[in-house]
Amino acid sequence: MLFKIAINNVKKNYKNYITYFLSVSFAVMMIYLFLAIFYNPQVNASLGNDKKFMIVFNIASALSILFSAFFIWYSNSFFIRTRKKELATYMLLGMNKFEVSILVFIENIIIAVASFAVGIFLGVLFCKFFIMILVALMGVSVNIKFRFEYKAFFTTVRDFSIIFIIIAIHSGALVYRNNLIDLFNAAKRREKAPKVSVVTALLSIISIISIVYGYYLALTKGSKFTDFLVYPEFMVLIVVGTIILFYSAIIFFIHLKRKKKSSYYKGTNLISTTQLLYRYNGNAGSLAVISILSAITLTAMCFTYSSYAKSVEAARENVPFSLQYTRGDAKLDDKIQSIIESHKEISIKSKDDIKILVVNSKYDIYKDTWQEYVLSESQYNSIAEHENNSEKVHLNSAKDAFVVELNVNKTEALKNSGVMVQTGSYKQSFKVKDSTTKFYMALNTLEETIVVKDSVFNQLEKNTSEKNIINVRGYMINNEMKSNSLVKELGKIIPKQNMFFSYYENYEGVLKVTAVMLFVGIFLGMLFLLATGSIIYFKQVVEASEDKYRYNTLTKIGLSKKEIKYAVMKQLMIIFGLPLLVSVGHSYTASQLFGQMFHESLNTQYFIVLVVYIVLYIVYYFITVKSYTKIVTQG
């Protein structure tokens, strides 16, 4: 009997449930997908050496589960709120509290099972397709087989069962706890328009200062790149600023608008503004959360997309040479040279034979002595020339040195400090004129390097024993992107101790990793967008049904349907627009910060991400306007 009523209720409330249903299904699909990829042997194989990055999919699934739990909890409390009167009627008709709780419990389970089934079905169905996209992004050609991933399935079932059971018990408890009279009066609960005081004005100023200062930090301190601490500071300032902004500055702003009679007393402005203010206290928290979530989504998507788009450049940073190995005997050199020449799809652009001295160095500003490399000025400049690095070195005297520093945070302090170089028993001191963090050969083979005048280099070399001299050969080639087979072949014949590195292989690795990030970024971003959109939608629809009588009155006084729609559009424009505006500000600043990290503007990438996001967001806006208007204009 209860079961029948529950089924009927679900059918009847189909409209209320549909967005919730879709969001949950999507979340289930995503979680299955992430886990299925995590367990997929073909994807694992494709990642090769970067298998450790598979953990990203596991983390993504965990994030999705957490987020789904939050989302389901949130929307469920809404449903109970809208249905309190209906539930009270059941009790009035003689059902006891326990039966009503069970009824709600059963309804929850029905929806959970249905949305779960749909989600898993879609997940299994599209899994192959999405893995194909992922693999294509990774630039690997693998024939993906259709698989049903049992482990992923069971993990998804387990996690969602836990969430759903907790939620079902919670909503049952919500009903059980309430008295009949509370249930009946739930909708009548009066909200109050926020009051504006000096405190509001003060808080408004604080929030704006906090956000502006956060932006300032990100845009100025970020550029020097000396202090990674700027990130947490930026985050805290922005998050706190945003929350206070929505609880004060926005109210203050609406209040000021209200003071300006010529526009406030004009047409539907009065209706949308008062409605907005009346409902504002209940909305401020969600709006702040949505702003922050959207900002994170936009930033994450911009970051992953940019990383992917900039793989070509990023790979160059860690492995600047097309091909590089530590030289052995002449036989090996000849063999490698002939193999390279035999590959007609590429051609040699340049060849550098690099002589490196391994020395002990001691800087004035540090206590420890390190093993470092020494390179001659002419050698360094020649490499720079071949690698297209415009940062050439010009040393004036024999006492001058230029340092290639691996740690970004140390460059500032190095300048003008003294350094003592010791090789064998020979000692020489230098003054650091300048430094860079641009690597002249593969990072894995690199140490901090002191570049000195050629004459000084020769002097040092004389005092250095043979075992402390490293000879490295670096090639730059044309058509690097076609060097796949060459790289594979060389990889086989060059012994491990000769440390072979190629740009192409590194690029492949970077591409795979960034593809994984991009894939996860896009899907998590979509999940966030879907959920934030749905949260605003639910909230507005619930308000619409609670405020229906108000619009009814307006119709009686003589407001046409068209004007009501206009008022609703304006009011929702602020509800949707404010978080978007705020999140665009935050994420744009963050993108500038990342741009400094990439040494390049990410504006194009940011713009593309933003346009896609806004288009999807606008779809939500119009769906909400339509539902809202429909609810309030029905007789």
Partner: protein, 268 residues
Amino acid sequence: MAVLKINNLKKLYGSKFGGTKYIALDNINLEVEKGEFVGIMGPSGAGKTTLLNVVSTIDKPSSGCVYIDGKDITKLRERQLSSFRRERLGFIFQDFNLLDTMTLKENIILPLVLSKVNHKIIDKKVSEVSEKLGLSKTLQKYPYEVSGGQKQRTAAARAMITEPALILADEPTGALDSKSATELLQCLGKLNEKNLATILMVTHDAFSASYCKRIIFIKDGVLFNEIYRGDSSRNDFFQKILKVLSTLGGSNVLNDFDNTKEDNSDVI
């Protein structure tokens, strides 16, 4: 010229699938002149609220014409109707229908704001109206902060701020205690006398009705009787109304609990 003229008005209710039809209003003819204060009385289900709904353009008649200020409102379209309602009609409802999101002042000026009247004129008008209805001190308060009587006076202020051709009041005293009800009725009477406002009021209550100048009785959808106050005192008029009501059948004076029943069935 008559402010309101109703010719052969008929309103039928029937199920969508044919079957028996229920005649709510049958061949009603009625004229209200400018400056009149007319009450409509009748037992539950007589068609009072239907008549008011048709006149207020919220409902459409099955046949017949309704002229307000010489304009046939049954021929107007949806968009014209809403602006007509806003500019030419004023409403006072039993449950006030004030917007709790707005202050009393904002509630009162709403029709003017919607018609995009200049805000300086709005401010002038609202102070005039609130003065008359004794609301000057409560203008900045919200509906939930004031008494029922103040709420209903606010509704009356909202109804008259546009200087409408016709003010329609549907059981305006229904939710008020007797003191507030008397105050409101005195206000309406004053508006009628001093500003020559034309008021059409539906009521159950013979006491409220005794403030009118003319009472029309409806029974089973047809006009049953009509009495004028003339020069008689309000008390005499009250006695007269009671007499007519007793001949009307279902006595309204004794069966006041009918109120609640009718209100539920009359939800639009």
